[in-house]
């Protein structure tokens, strides 16, 4: 869920400065350190680290409820000729492109606006934007299913009151993915706004004063001071936003079931479908490994784009 905004750990930042203690004392110190992290580390090894390795191993197996045999790269080869796989890849890319840039711009703009208001107004708007985050994805999907309903939904009612044709938002192949994207935007950026606003509060006022004395316009101040100093927060929002957008599932499962004709299915829905409706675990694992590689690759590219040392 979270990655620190300082994307690189400087060498030496964590270096343990050891006093010249006797060996026995150091062993005891080590032991207590391990003691405190042991439960967390054990859970991590069993439920995160091991499954990650296992995922790669399983992807080389033909594994279903009944069979389990080593098939080498067969699952990957099958994927490369699977038309649905290319469709979900295309859809996943569409989700990313339609969600991440828009979401980042939206969050930054709303944050800059919120930041100018009084504390009370800030609390109101931040809470309003955050409310969907405490509401279950299933609940939000139910609500939007209703809003998008062609018979009783508000959206088509509003279109018709304006004299426009109603739209089959979710059941039309050409609008279904976009409808999920719109809904996703409506529920997703509260946390980002709170974060960026907090980060705005960390920009020293004297920078703006200096800029004003030099006669810099508001726009110039925003471009030359605000945005560069917001870079770590923006990077954080972009990367977590990407990871989120890659993993949209509940909304798709509840609102469209991946349809119509797989038009809204993405990589993670494909994993679910292969693994838990077809029970082809080997193939699902191959897709999962692919997703892992894509996620890491996209995140690394973003680290590269955003990484720079910001000094106040």
């Amino acid at each position: 869920m979270a990655i620190p905004d300082r994307l690189t750990v400087e060498p030496g930042a964590f270096r343990v400065r050891r006093s010249q203690k006797p060996l026995a004392a150091r062993i005891v110190e080590d032991a207590w350190g391990y003691f405190f992290i042991a439960p967390s580390l054990l859970a991590f090894l069993v439920f995160s680290a091991y499954p990650m390795v296992d995922s790669i191993l399983l992807s080389f197996h033909h594994l279903t409820l009944r069979t389990n045999e080593w098939v080498g790269l067969q699952n990957y080869a099958d994927l490369s000729t699977n038309a649905d796989f290319y469709l979900v890849l295309k859809n996943t890319a569409l989700y990313l492109v339609l969600i991440v840039p828009v979401g980042v711009v939206l969050s930054v703009v709303l944050s800059v606006l919120v930041f100018r208001l009084s504390t009370r107004a800030q609390v109101f708007f931040k809470s309003a934007y955050y409310l969907p985050h405490v509401t279950a994805g299933v609940v939000l999907s139910f609500i939007w299913l209703y809003l998008y309903d062609p018979g009783f939904g508000l959206l088509d009612y509003l279109l018709q009151s304006l004299g426009l044709q109603p739209v089959l938002w979710l059941s039309n192949q050409s609008t279904s993915l976009l409808s999920i994207v719109v809904m996703y935007h409506a529920i997703s950026w509260g946390g980002a706004i709170i974060l960026i606003t907090a980060s705005l509060g960390g920009i020293p006022e004297h920078l703006y004063e200096a800029a004003r004395i030099d006669g810099a316009s508001q726009l110039r101040q925003t471009l030359a001071i605000t945005l560069p100093l917001l870079k770590p927060a923006i990077a954080y929002v972009a990367i977590t936003g990407t990871i989120g957008a890659l993993q949209i599932f509940t909304e798709i499962y509840v609102m469209t079931g991946g349809g119509p004709n797989y038009a809204t299915a993405n990589l993670v829905f494909f994993i679910y479908d292969r693994g838990f409706t077809m029970f082809d675990f080997g193939s699902a694992s191959a897709v999962a490994v692919f997703l892992l590689v894509v996620t890491v690759a996209v995140a690394l590219i973003q680290f590269r784009i955003f990484s720079s040392d910001v000094e106040y």
Binding site: R6, W32, L41, A43, A136, Y146, I194, V254
Partner: protein, 285 residues
Amino acid sequence: MIRTLRDSAPAEKVFLIVAYGALAVWAIVSLFPIYWMLTTALKPASVVMSLPPEWIPHTITLANFSEALLGYPVARWTLNSVIVAGAVTIGQLLFATMAGYGFAKKRFHGRELIFWVYLSSMMVPGFALLVPLYTMMASWHLINTYVGLIAPGLTAPFGAFLMRQFIQTLPNEVIDAGKIDGCSEIDLFTRIIVPLSKPGIAVLGIFAFVGEWNAFLWPLIITSTEEMRTLVVGFAIVQSSQSELHTNYGATMAASTYMAIPMLIVFFAFQRYFLRGITIGALKG
């Protein structure tokens, strides 16, 4: 930086009006669906299924709730949700506070490496682990059990990270003072660190509980009988079994309200923890 309408220059006034307008529009986008859920749940079925819509309900009824809640084992689902969310929260709090203390205040070999691995693992999509976790649970005969529902939730690198960030801000002097008073290592943790970490623990506890209450994917996969489902999974399956033409939105919104209300109450009760908690994890990195 705070300016109000009264004491601002004309250009600034225009800016503030536009700003309020844009913020209000987005607040409506964010809040209206929840308003619509609450009000629809209280409308009679005939009103829900007719147009033009009633923006404010004229007559209020609980009929949707009885329809949504009485036909299914909702009491059991609620109990399951409470058990799972409660157990995961308690487990995460214990594990994460201990680990956070270890990472923040203890010195041991491999500390930075393990912490770095934790941080990197937050990037790993949960979906990448789905199949191996499922086959693991299957081989341990934990499919469709509480242990199976709860166990994977105990791995929480984010919690450990959040608690480390918090505990790091506690002065070392209090720990040294405790040592001088003869506290054992366990005492230092339970009597000094835990009480001082309460704000951090509260933040993590709230996030963990809300997150688990709303969790969908894992409970969907690991449960196989109706009585083991959690609330969100139970109602999601009810919904998906209805045909598209016969969705009873009044009942669906009543079920949604039933699921959402406890978390909305948690949110308003702990509002400032939420607003602060989000920034603890991310910005002090």
